[in-house]
């Protein structure tokens, strides 16, 4: 009996990647369906901006399509996509600082579209939505460090490399982000 909840096997993914690399868009669509949620999650949490997250997710998959022939399968496809997305988000942030200044500030009302994106029937939905809103309201650099460390599980040194910061600055930004988050959640 086929289990609809079963996780796709790595062989299955490898076959889809091979097909997509030969130009099969339907195969790539299946890869998109499997990994787009994770890519969109990192994009929206790192940017705090639904439209920007949409653009970056779009760009991540277009870039993946262009580079499918370079995917060697050493890591899972989802991990490869995740790396592409993080690189894109950080690259976009570096090249477009003016845009960064426009994202939601701590005084702004949360983006309704963004909040709606997190709606879910989970029992702790209220806490989760509050937390997502608080993350979106963090200053950009603190948000990036916080998401990479506390959500994605990166180490201080890895974040320092990615963001071209001293490890001490990463720690300071992380501590600041947590203080701001707790302040917003306790309001």
């Amino acid at each position: 009996m086929i289990d609809p909840q079963a996780t796709p096997s790595s062989d299955d993914t490898a076959a889809l990647v091979a097909l997509a690399a030969r130009g099969d868009v339907s195969a790539f669509e299946q890869l998109y369906q499997r990994s787009s949620g994770r890519v969109y999650a990192i994009c929206i949490r790192m940017t705090g901006d639904a439209q920007r997250a949409r653009e970056l997710t779009h760009d991540a998959f277009v870039r993946a399509w262009e580079r499918l022939s370079t995917f060697r399968g050493e890591a899972a496809f989802e991990t490869w996509m995740h790396r592409i997305a993080v690189n894109l988000v950080l690259g976009a942030e570096r090249s477009d600082r003016r845009r960064r200044a426009r994202v939601v500030s701590s005084e702004d009302e949360p983006d309704n579209e963004r909040v709606a994106a997190f709606a879910s029937p989970a029992p702790d939905v209220e806490t989760r939505v509050d937390l997502e809103r608080a993350i979106a309201a963090l200053p950009p650099r603190a948000r990036q460090v916080f998401v990479l460390h506390d959500v994605e599980g990166y180490k201080h040194d890895e974040i320092a490399d990615r963001l071209d910061l001293q490890s001490s600055s990463v720690r300071a930004q992380l501590h600041r982000a947590r203080k701001l988050i707790m302040g917003m959640l306790n309001r």
């Binding site: 130009g23 868009v25 790539f28 669509e29 998109y32 369906q33 787009s36 949620g37 994770r38 890519v39 969109y40 999650a41 929206i44 949490r45 439209q51 949409r54 653009e55 997710t57 779009h58 998959f61 277009v62 399509w65 262009e66 994106a117 997190f118 879910s120 989970a122 806490t127 989760r128 937390l131 997502e132 993350i135 916080f146 506390d150 959500v151 599980g153 201080h156 720690r171 992380l174 501590h175 947590r178 203080k179 988050i181 707790m182 959640l185």
Partner: protein
Amino acid sequence: MTTHLTWETLNDLVDDVLSPAAKAAAETHARDCASCATSLAELRATVAVTHDLPESVTPPEDLWHDVRATIEAGKVAHLPLGSVPAHARGFWVTPGRLAAAAVMLVAVTASLTGIVMTSQPATQTIAQAPLAVSVSWQASERVFQANVLALREQLEALHDHLAPETLVKVERALATIDLAIAEGREALLRDPANAALSELVASNYRQKIELLRRVTQLASS
């Protein structure tokens, strides 16, 4: 009286990055100090809740459509221009066949456009006010237009290599495709979410690019 743990120390304790001695001292203090124990518990709870956020967030439903449109446009853009070997050119590459194919292409384009445009529900064809098409569609269209422009420039440079009557027929075919694109775009502005319409306009662009590519190929052979 013992000094309370700093915010930095509390965080380093949660992240387990303190030296063994500093960690032991901090833990000992937290056991004896209600204030620091509370702060530590609150911090740990916040970090735990954050860590438990879902790994995945559902992206907008129509995002795949935009991704697909862009990669389809890219597939056209990456086709080799003017470098296809003669044996691979097949049926197309003679002036007479090219002109005949152009006429056929135009007929198919016009028919498809007619079918899709007339199959829209009446409520959709009565526009309230023009709406902006999606940013992603605009990006895809820019890619199509850049391809058309590049091929147009190549064709201009090879203009003298084609017979005048072939050029006339090709230009006529291109004008008809342009009309189909213009009609499709107009309909798309009224109904930006209509996937069939955006696919139709993309298809018309692809046909235009294909025709230009083959004419350029012919002229450079």
